[in-house]
Subunit: 222 residues, 2 copies
């Protein structure tokens, strides 16, 4: 990295559209990127394969952490529960995974501190989103305060900054930004159902389709 | 549980002295306890064996989570580094593990939300302690705010309360409280070096020995 490089960043990379754009924002800003993905019992492996490919395409290091954790009660993890096929209308939907981003951000911060990275990027978005409380700016700011107080680098040095560059963007805006940055959208996966083709009807597929439509761009993953 | 029971609690249980006392405080208050321990590459397994025994003796459920995580840079995890044999004098010592309690509390909160438990107990203490930033009250309060904003139960219901009943106690005070509550101290392990007998010279051994001496009690683990 050059002298003017902002240094290293850890980017939470799910394999979905938003986190891929967040990664390319970090690259654009000159960070040396360590992408971090979790194998936590998702309904399907497709998004992990996508994450690995996006990390590779972008020239980033990729870390995968297996989490052996008894998360239950989320339709996203329980193959016996159906994933809802419509917008949840402001309520937190059944695909909510208890504390997921709290756990993921904790690992990202810990990895950042281990690597000496000063920034963690997360593709969280609270505009065209499913209503998960751990995707909101208020939560991220509170978590930032906890990191400042609870880590060695927060107490003794400059700390670890959480960046959520997409937090107030629309899905169409995120897609336009990603196109500009060269995000390989054909390797991003949004569908909760994880078949060989996206189902087109789950929350996540609908947000994606509406975003591409509003951006006036054809979805290269279809 | 009776009608007057405060419900379920998740207790972070390392196998050391403080977390064992925190667990017995939770039991004394009437909680149904789920003890949570982590296998994260400690220098030795002794404290995990102690945690399992304490959970069993106290009649609590025990959960162990294996964390596959590339934590480096801590002498507590790296067998090639020596554990310091003296007090660190106000500095954060080399035994600090990046973001450890942040990750542990995140899992505890996630497990609590999954189980419908309203409280997480942690044996953190900022009086007779090694200076880890993630053991301090300020950090715990900030993390509490993040939990209130970032979990479904924090947004829709009463939330998950973090209790740190030992936070302002001296080690002698913790030991006296533990004796009163019947904590089986003979099954707690504090030494960083994890031989068959405690080394007696590491930070953690010294805090423990001084605590028992000041409490006027013989350490049943010796």
């Amino acid at each position: 990295m050059s002298r003017n490089s902002p240094g290293l960043a850890v980017v939470l990379l799910s394999g979905g559209l938003d986190s891929a754009v967040a990664l390319y924002v970090a690259r654009e800003k000159g960070y040396g990127v360590h992408a971090l993905s979790f194998d936590y019992g998702q309904r399907h492996r497709k998004e992990l394969d996508c994450a690995e490919m996006i990390a590779c395409k972008s020239g980033s290091q990729w870390h995968r952490i297996r989490l052996e954790f008894p998360w239950k009660g989320s339709s996203l993890l329980d193959k016996n529960q159906a994933v809802p096929q419509e917008f949840s209308g402001g309520k937190i939907p059944s695909t909510y995974v208890p504390g997921r981003n709290i756990v993921f951000l904790s690992f990202a911060a810990s990895l950042a501190e281990t690597l000496g990275a000063g920034t963690v990027f997360i593709g969280a978005n609270e505009i065209d989103y499913s209503g998960y409380p751990d995707c909101r700016k208020d939560f991220l700011q509170a978590f930032q305060t906890a990191l400042n107080l609870g880590t060695r680098t927060g107490v003794e040095a400059r700390g670890i900054r959480i960046e959520a560059p997409l937090i107030r963007k629309t899905k169409a805006g995120i897609i336009r930004l990603g196109m500009k940055l060269g995000v390989p959208f054909e390797f991003t996966w949004s569908c909760y159902n994880g078949r060989t083709r996206a189902c087109g009807t789950c929350d996540s597929c609908r947000f994606r389709a509406a975003g591409f439509a509003r951006a006036g761009i054809e979805d290269p993953a279809l």
